[in-house]
């Protein structure tokens, strides 16, 4: 009996030794394999999937070695050019999505990203205008470039920025609108338009109720505005058309179709006849992957790009960009462009964010309007051309001059202030506008 036990014990020992040997060899081979291969293979220099340049092998020098930079650079180079890196990356992506992206029944995933105040200084097509140092506002110097947390909700193939309102936010914004409105010359009609974003119509209830409700925030802000300010309920118009393509899925802006709904509301309130979309020449700019992808890196957005549907103006238009109210040395721009070289296809509308734009139309009705806006206003401006002889557009973040004076000098009768709901909380925008009315 004990002989059998001894025998089986010996057998066991042999087996466990064999397995231990296999495990040891396997461990060494796997690690060593990658070690050796990484010295023999050709190093890629660019990563297509991440759209960035990979670290190059650092040059050896004793100063970099003792300064500690050589070894650090080498580690970066080594992991950037690791064999089968793309495969490992996608594996990591899968592990990560299982552990940190359980989307549940509602199909919701939150991606948090670092937002900077400077992200909000606006982007425009380079039309050649030279922004001189003194006119260009340096927000970084004035205030540290505060990073704050932004959250993007990914639901299906749509990205949406999460909105959180507060009482102080609506008060501050109403105050800004009131100050701007009362700074205007006597007799000027002042309209305020606050535009909700996509999450309000496509997000689950949790993201549209309580403090997240843009409807409530916009209502509250309007309520706090002076009676002389004419408020525009674009919310209901957009809500009605929510099943149409009124918002991009990969970008935080609305489409021009969305902006058209707001334009209809404006015409209604200001008692003007809106142009019919059917009468406008239209076209599409394909493959637009916008800001929400850039912030979230969500693969699903990249794989499902948007397109920009544009509507040209019916009337003839002639647009010029100026640095400031002196309106010297202007540069021409397209009110609606048929194609955009930048990856930001939303720049198709009025050349993006420019300091001051003046559009002269073929209308001869003597009506002049000034639009104060950030980028949300861009898609709406082209429609206004149908109703006015002159349309002025100012982006306070890009310029600084005496705005009430300008309105007076140009004989402008109406001012339309357009902001999307997130801009209500934006200090860069409000500081810049205050600077122009004080």
């Amino acid at each position: 009996m004990s002989e059998i036990n001894n025998k089986s014990n010996r057998e066991r020992r042999i087996y466990s030794n064999i397995f231990a040997l296999v495990s040891a060899i396997f461990f060494l081979i796997v690690l060593g394999f990658f070690g050796v291969i990484s010295f023999l293979d050709v190093d890629p220099t660019v990563s297509e999937s991440e759209n960035r340049k990979l670290a190059a092998k650092p040059e050896f020098s004793f100063s970099s070695l003792f300064g500690g930079t050589y070894t650090r650079d080498f580690e970066n180079y080594y992991s950037d050019t690791f064999p089968l890196r793309e495969m490992f990356m996608s594996m990591n992506g899968k592990i990560s999505s299982v552990l940190t992206q359980f989307s549940g029944k509602e199909d919701n995933v939150i991606v948090n990203y670092e937002k900077h105040d400077s992200d909000f200084t606006g982007e425009g097509i380079d039309v050649g205008i030279k922004k001189e140092e003194e006119t260009k506002k340096d927000f970084h110097a004035k205030e540290e470039d505060a990073a704050f947390k932004g959250s993007i909700l990914i639901s299906g193939d749509r990205g949406m920025e999460v909105f959180t309102g507060s009482d102080s936010m609506t008060s501050k914004y109403a105050e800004l609108v009131n100050s701007t409105s009362s700074a205007m010359p006597e007799g000027v009609k002042f309209y305020s338009m606050v535009v909700p974003t996509a999450i309000e119509f496509y997000g689950t209830k949790r993201f549209t109720s309580g403090e997240h409700s843009q409807k409530d925030s916009i209502k509250l802000a309007y309520k706090k505005m002076d009676s002389s300010v004419i408020t525009l309920d674009v919310y209901s118009r957009l809500e009605e058309k929510a099943d149409e393509y009124i918002y991009f899925r990969t970008d935080h802006h609305w489409t021009q179709r969305g902006a058209y709904q707001a334009y209809l509301e404006f015409c209604d309130v200001s008692k003007q006849t809106p142009v019919d979309l059917k009468d406008l020449e239209t076209g599409k700019i394909k493959d637009f992957v916008g800001s929400l992808y850039k912030a979230s890196n969500a693969d699903v957005l990249k794989k499902n790009p948007d397109y920009v549907e544009f509507f040209k103006t019916r009337v003839e238009v002639d647009g010029m960009v100026y640095e400031n109210s002196e309106m010297a040395d202007g540069y021409p721009f397209y009110v609606v462009a048929r194609s955009v070289n930048s990856s930001n296809k939303y720049l198709a509308f009025i050349g993006g964010d420019q300091p001051l734009e003046k559009i002269v139309t073929s209308n001869k009705n003597g009506k002049k309007i000034l639009v104060i806006k950030e980028s949300y206003g861009n898609a709406l401006v082209p429609f206004l051309c149908d109703n006015y002889e002159e349309v002025y557009v100012v982006d306070p973040r890009q310029t600084n001059f005496d705005l009430p004076d300008f309105v007076k000098e140009q004989g402008i009768g109406e001012v339309l202030m357009i902001n999307y709901s997130f801009a209500m909380a934006n200090k860069t925008f409000s500081d810049a506008l205050y600077a122009m009315i004080d």
Partner: protein, 471 residues
């Protein structure tokens, strides 16, 4: 170099293992290990490796003098010299700027700051070197006659930069004689891979979640967000640090050393006292043996002794007031437990004791994470609802849902559950006729899956810090 870097994992480590195991004789093996350790250190700290070499040399000399001399006064003098020099380095590199900064707050003080950077691992190897000299002085262990052997003990790469703090007594024999069986090696691989998983998967993903909340604007944290963040950090720091210790222990085994465990499931503690018997055991036992007991232990001035130990424990973690606060926080909690709460704790159900302990530990990590006092206040404010932000926000609820698997897995992995299951499974397997083979296959598959998974996470993620690296 750190264990979770690809350069270590795929170049340094396999090369050292192969060279080590093919070279004949212990002498050559020790030389290889020493050279490898110095390279390992110099890779991250090419300049200040000198400090380590000098520390080891001074303590070597002191050891020789103490060991050889019969005169008590000589022995004492040598001990004091070595302690002063060894701790002196630590003070100069780690605490000098802290002291001068604080002194400069006093009017008319204007001491210039040094621009010394903390050499990697100095807090760990200094304590190892100290324990050697004191143990020789106490005649607990014979002095080391060969400088290079002592240097090997001080600089050995597995535990060099982030512990565990290995005692010379525990490895003296192994430096002189050791052998590695195949089973040792394979067990070492498993232990190393468990550590790597803790680090590359659990700690890094929990860390991302923690950073999401803790590294941002604390004023906009909701109650739910604050708790999610600090609980994620609570997991991160455990997996990070115990993962590193596991890797060190695993590497040690592959090289024939049997280091003691550094963690014993601290997050299943039933009291704060219990927690400190399970967390970073090599550090707490160091303070117990070299500070607490020499001061009188619990025989006289117990409260004072506890105060000193916890002040030092806090301060050891970093030259900053938050660590001092963190240490004192534990002093208060432990004293309170000893004199008041202890009797009550004994009477209440275990689950409440667990909740109580974890609550205290989690609050402790707030002091540990935030290095400036205002942030600590803001964070505690957010956790307990003293904030203008509402209790929960939609994105915080969704973020919690998104990370539910991560958090549940973390919660399971901090308990002994996995290891109990694995042991049961092995016992059952081994009883069956082909059990040994099955067990071998299962082990191999486990090792392969874990290794590839960890490599994917290390290659694929850009977030890979080591928390205890800076101590």
């Amino acid at each position: 170099m750190v264990f979770s870097s690809l350069v270590f994992l795929c170049i340094f480590f396999p090369a050292v293992l192969i060279l080590y195991h093919i070279s004949p004789g212990l002498k050559l093996k020790n030389i290889i290990l020493l050279v490898a350790s110095l390279l390992f250190y110099a890779w991250g700290e090419p300049k200040w490796i000198v400090v380590m070499l000098v520390t080891a040399f001074i303590d070597y000399l002191a050891g020789v003098v103490i060991g050889k001399s019969k005169k008590n006064s000589v022995r004492k003098f040598a001990l004091i010299c070595s302690v002063v020099v060894t701790l002196g380095f630590l003070v100069v590199f780690k605490y000098l700027n802290f002291f001068t900064t604080n002194l400069n707050f006093i009017p008319f003080f204007n001491i210039p700051q040094t621009n010394l950077v903390l050499p990697i691992g100095i807090s760990f190897y200094t304590f190892q070197a100290l324990s050697y000299v004191v143990d020789v002085y106490r005649k607990d262990v014979d002095y080391q006659k060969n400088y290079f052997n002592l240097l090997l003990y001080v600089s050995m790469f597995p535990q060099l930069i982030a512990g565990p703090i290995v005692r010379y007594v525990d490895v003296a024999n192994e430096i002189a004689e050791r052998k590695v069986t195949l089973v040792d090696f394979s067990d070492g691989v498993t232990k190393f891979l468990i550590g790597l998983t803790k680090k590359a998967i659990f700690a890094n993903f929990a860390g991302l979640l923690a950073e999401n909340y803790l590294a941002g604007d604390l004023k906009s944290l909701s109650v739910l967000g604050a708790w999610t963040g600090i609980i994620a950090y609570f997991f991160q720091i455990y997996f990070d640090f115990s993962g590193y210790s596991d890797m060190a222990i695993g590497i040690g085994r592959m090289l024939g050393f049997k280091f003691r465990e550094n963690f014993n499931y601290p997050y299943i503690s039933l009291s704060v006292t219990d927690f400190w018997r399970r967390w970073h055991m090599s550090l707490s036992s160091f303070f117990r043996d070299y500070v607490y007991i020499p001061l009188g232990g619990n025989r006289h001035h117990q409260l004072r002794n506890m105060f000193v130990v916890w002040l030092l424990t806090g301060f050891w973690h970093g030259a900053s007031w938050n660590f001092v606060l963190w240490g004192l926080y534990y002093f208060v909690m432990l004293a309170f437990e000893k004199y008041v709460l202890g009797k009550i704790l004994d009477k209440i159900p275990k689950v409440f004791r667990l909740i109580y302990s974890l609550f205290i530990v989690i609050i402790g990590w707030v002091f540990f994470y935030f290095e400036d006092i205002p942030s600590i206040g803001r964070m505690l404010g957010a956790m307990f609802g003293v904030t203008s932000v509402s209790g929960t926000t939609a994105q915080d609820i969704t973020t919690l849902t998104n990370n539910v698997f991560l958090l549940v897995l973390c919660a399971i992995a901090v308990t002994p559950l996995c290891s109990i299951c694995a042991n049961k499974f092995t016992t059952v397997l081994k009883k069956s006729p082909n059990g040994v083979i099955l067990n071998g296959v299962v082990t191999l598959v486990f090792q392969a899956v874990v290794l590839v998974g960890c490599m994917a996470c290390l290659v694929g993620s850009t977030y890979n810090p080591f928390l205890y690296f800076r101590f």
